[in-house]
């Protein structure tokens, strides 16, 4: 591996790991003011929303493919199916659709 590539791997490792680790070092947990704890409890729900949209509409160059995938996944999850089932059936439905 070239010296430049080694430096890139090292730099990327550092700037990725440090933000992941720092909060565990900075906060002992549960000592933040109630308002901040409330915000942090909200974070997972908000993050999921932002991770799904607009990404799911654009993972494929065809917008309709994304919309179909989103609709399939929402529907299957809504019936109470577990996550792995939701993932596999969504892939299956899109594969079938693209073969039509």
């Amino acid at each position: 591996m070239s010296a430049e590539m080694t430096a890139i791997v090292f730099g990327m490792t550092a700037v990725t790991y440090i933000p992941r680790m720092l909060p565990f070092m900075m906060f002992k947990g549960k000592e933040l003011p109630a308002f901040w704890q409330g915000i942090l409890r909200n974070v997972p729900y908000a993050t999921l929303g932002a991770l799904i949209f607009p990404g799911i509409l654009t993972f494929h160059e065809n917008l309709w493919f994304g919309i179909a995938g989103a609709a399939a996944a929402f529907f299957i999850a809504f019936t109470g199916a577990n996550i792995i089932f939701t993932v596999l059936v969504s892939i299956g439905i899109l594969t079938l659709l693209s073969m039509l």
């Binding site: 680790m21 993050t47 993932v87």
Partner: protein, 238 residues
């Protein structure tokens, strides 16, 4: 002692099973990464080093395209930082759910905090600990690293149709995590909907890069809805 060891194994197993969905989702993503890395003329060792040490999908995709363009080290590292700073927020949220354990255990499992492991861990009922996180991360990380190598060596083998459809996997997993919560909590609907809408606005108006867009829309939604919630509660208590 025997009981705690058994409990730890139970936690590990639970994490491991919870990570299966991630492992399936990482397969096509890492396969694509391996393929792209090869086409960008990275060596096998370079391709694997990024997956082994960085373990951050989007950052790795962007890094190889920047490397292919001949971009400098500083810009590549800075772009990675901007893209991955969102994990600070995720780790801070996970920390609130984390059981009291030594910092070193937390420092070890924090390496595996990705969008996906965070989503699964934060939606777990009750608290999280090192055994659970180890199970969750080991299966996800293995899938990521092994599939990167497979992609580099034989990514073209999978039929194109299946490759394209598998792109939906991680989104389907996020939806699978979110929908049960939407059914039971109005606040979850408002939070996820607001952040999704804000993120769409930032991305389509081209005001923020995708890394910042996720942080800003998550924070704006989490803060404003918490503030509204508190005002409502204060109003009721008066």
């Amino acid at each position: 002692m025997v009981e705690t060891a058994a409990a730890e194994r139970g936690e590990f197993k639970e994490g491991f099973y919870a990570g299966t969905g991630i492992a399936i989702g990482y397969f096509p993503a890492a396969l694509t990464y391996g393929l792209l890395a090869k086409s960008a003329e990275l060596s096998f060792v370079e391709t694997m080093s990024l997956s082994i040490f960085v373990f951050a999908g989007a950052a790795q995709y962007i890094a190889i395209s920047l490397i292919a363009l001949g971009t400098g080290i500083f810009e590549i590292v800075l772009t990675t930082f901007i893209l991955n700073i969102r994990h600070f927020l995720m780790s801070a949220a996970l920390n609130e759910k984390a059981e009291d354990e030594s910092f070193w255990k937390k420092a070890a499992y924090s390496f595996g905090v990705t969008d996906e492991t965070f989503s699964v861990a934060s939606m777990r009922k009750g608290s999280i600990n090192a055994s659970y996180m180890a199970g969750l991360i080991i299966i996800s990380y293995s899938s990521w690293v092994i599939s990167s190598g497979l992609g580099y060596m034989a990514g073209n083998a999978l039929p194109q149709v299946v490759q394209e459809s598998m792109g939906v996997a991680l989104y389907a997993m996020f939806i699978g995590l979110l929908v049960p919560l939407l059914k039971t909590s109005h606040k979850a609907i408002i939070l996820a909907g607001t952040a999704a809408l804000l993120n769409c606005i930032f991305i389509y108006s081209d005001t923020l890069s995708s890394g910042w867009a996720i942080i800003v829309s998550t924070l704006l939604a989490a803060v404003s809805i918490e503030a509204a919630d508190q005002m409502k509660r204060k109003g009721q208590s008066l």
